[in-house]
């Protein structure tokens, strides 16, 4: 998937949980859970949504590689190459 495509998918997944959040509200280098005020259930639902939209299964071991918006984009770029 292309970088731009992934960003659209991520915003869709985020807005499913936090409809009020826009891309410009997010500091892409900061922890996404803090940026979007997500609890652990919200974060899980966000990953479930990403799996639905991209087919990429993110397990707990990879959480540190996807905890910011920027890292998640890079991660998905690599996984969907």
């Amino acid at each position: 998937m292309k970088n731009q495509e992934i960003k659209v998918v991520l915003m869709k997944a985020i807005q499913e949980i936090a409809p009020e959040i826009e891309l410009e509200d997010i500091d892409v280098d900061e922890d996404l859970r803090d940026e979007c005020d997500l609890d652990s259930m919200d974060f899980l639902n966000y990953l479930i949504e990403i799996k639905k939209l991209t087919g990429v299964k993110i397990t707990e071991g990879d959480y540190q590689n996807v905890n910011t918006f920027k890292k998640m984009v890079a991660y998905l770029e690599q996984k969907t190459e």
Binding site: P19, D34, D39, S40, N45, L47, I48, K57, T59, E60
Partner: protein, 406 residues
């Protein structure tokens, strides 16, 4: 023709029960009837979803508490009705039905009504809107933020409901700003209702509090091992283990599970655990997970995920919001070390889970790193004594040391 005859016969028995706008939580004063899923003459059984109502907590699937035949529909959608308004009537078909229903009604509906409705009538009644267009909570929030007039928007959803996609079109008249006052008053009403329920609790229930630091090393390691290769939709959160452990400890100490009414404690046979979910738009919703003692850990996790999604999108069932026998409030990892909850009447206890913290501990004279959680029990002293509370918390701790057996 035959069908009509049998309905008439049933109506002849005339044991008729009112179906009222239910109170689905301490902060609900009114609800908007959005859609009837039944019509007069339709047979219904206890637990059937008969209508969709919109509340500050989103769309709720309203269940019927009786088995019978719908005899009358008194209000047509879309209309906002105060809690307690008779919406329809059902003619009972099962002779024992009335006796079965009464205890539940008195347990769940009455105390909430008395808590929430009376002081807020003035607020809720002045803001009854009968012409509000059908729209999802997201749309209404967006409309409020952008000051859009939803009556100008053509909805493409069921019954002409306005969906998110309808807002992006050119059919929006942005010049017509809606009154923001209503939203502010809704928030005020919600705050006021929480205030009155919690004041009632603090005025009437002699609370006492006990806290125990519970070692969670085993539970967290078990979770890590279990979750290692699991996809996010199979992932288990610590909360699932906490709920299961609480249910098992409640089986051992059932006096914490039930209701205090008419100056006495009534033990609840089933373990329905209410979960405090804070809504993004503010306020709380406390849906119950039913029969947690009978669920596996995976099923409990599925139930948590299910209520979290439905809590946000609507379609919580009315029973889930009224029949909790005890409540849990979970601070989560970004919360505080402890939480001392206020009991939700007529329940007699609330369990507060703090966040997991790392702390040094002495084990056989050696300093080791350990992960603990402060668990706080708020209990009703009319029913529960400190010794019982202590036994319960220690039983809960014991359960969490062997997560594989939960």
């Amino acid at each position: 023709m035959k069908e009509e005859d049998s309905v008439a016969e049933i109506l002849g028995n005339d044991i008729v029960e009112d179906i009222i706008m239910p109170s689905l939580g301490a902060d609900m004063t009114e609800g908007m009837l959005v859609e009837w899923l039944v019509k007069p003459g339709d047979p219904v059984k206890r637990g059937d979803v008969i209508a969709v109502i919109e509340t500050q907590k989103g769309a709720i699937d309203m269940e019927v508490y009786h088995t019978g035949v719908i005899s009358e529909i008194l209000h047509e959608p879309i209309v906002t009705l105060p809690v307690g308004t008779v919406m329809a009537r059902v003619t009972l078909t099962e002779p024992g039905e009335r006796a079965k229903v009464t205890p539940l009604d008195s347990v769940t509906v009455t105390p909430l009504d008395s808590v929430t409705v009376t002081p807020l009538d003035s607020i809720s009644l002045t803001h009854v809107e009968t012409s509000t267009p059908l729209a999802s909570p997201v749309v209404r929030k967006m409309a409020m933020d952008q000051r859009l007039d939803l009556t100008e928007v053509k909805g493409s959803g069921p019954l002409g409901a306005i969906l998110l996609r309808d807002l992006s079109g050119s059919n929006i008249d942005r010049t017509n700003a809606i009154e923001v006052d209503d939203a502010i008053n809704t928030k005020k009403a919600m705050r006021g209702a929480i205030a009155s329920a919690m004041s009632k609790s603090k005025n009437e229930i002699p609370h006492f509090y006990q806290s125990l630091d519970i070692e969670l090393g085993n539970a967290l390691q078990w979770l890590k091992r279990t979750n290692e290769d699991r996809a996010p939709d199979q992932h288990i959160l610590l909360l699932a283990l906490l709920l299961k452990a609480a249910a098992k400890a409640l089986m051992k100490y059932p006096d914490l599970n039930g209701f205090y009414q008419n100056n006495q404690f009534v033990h609840a046979e089933e373990i329905h655990i209410g979960n405090v979910i804070s809504l993004r738009q503010g306020g709380l919703v406390v849906p119950a997970i039913h029969n947690v003692d009978k669920l596996s850990v995976d099923e409990t996790m599925e139930a948590i995920r299910d209520i979290s999604v439905r809590g946000r999108s609507g379609h919580l069932r009315s029973s889930e919001l009224t029949d909790a026998t005890i409540t849990i409030t979970n601070m989560g990892e970004r919360g505080t070390d402890t939480v001392f909850g206020v009991i939700y009447p007529p329940q007699v206890a609330i369990i507060g889970f703090g966040k997991v913290r790392e702390t040094p501990q002495l084990v056989d004279g050696d300093l080791v790193n350990s992960e603990v959680m402060s668990v706080c029990l708020s209990a009703d002293h009319r029913v529960i004594d400190g010794m019982l509370g202590a036994k319960f918390l220690n039983a809960l701790s014991k359960q969490l040391q062997k997560p594989e057996l939960l």
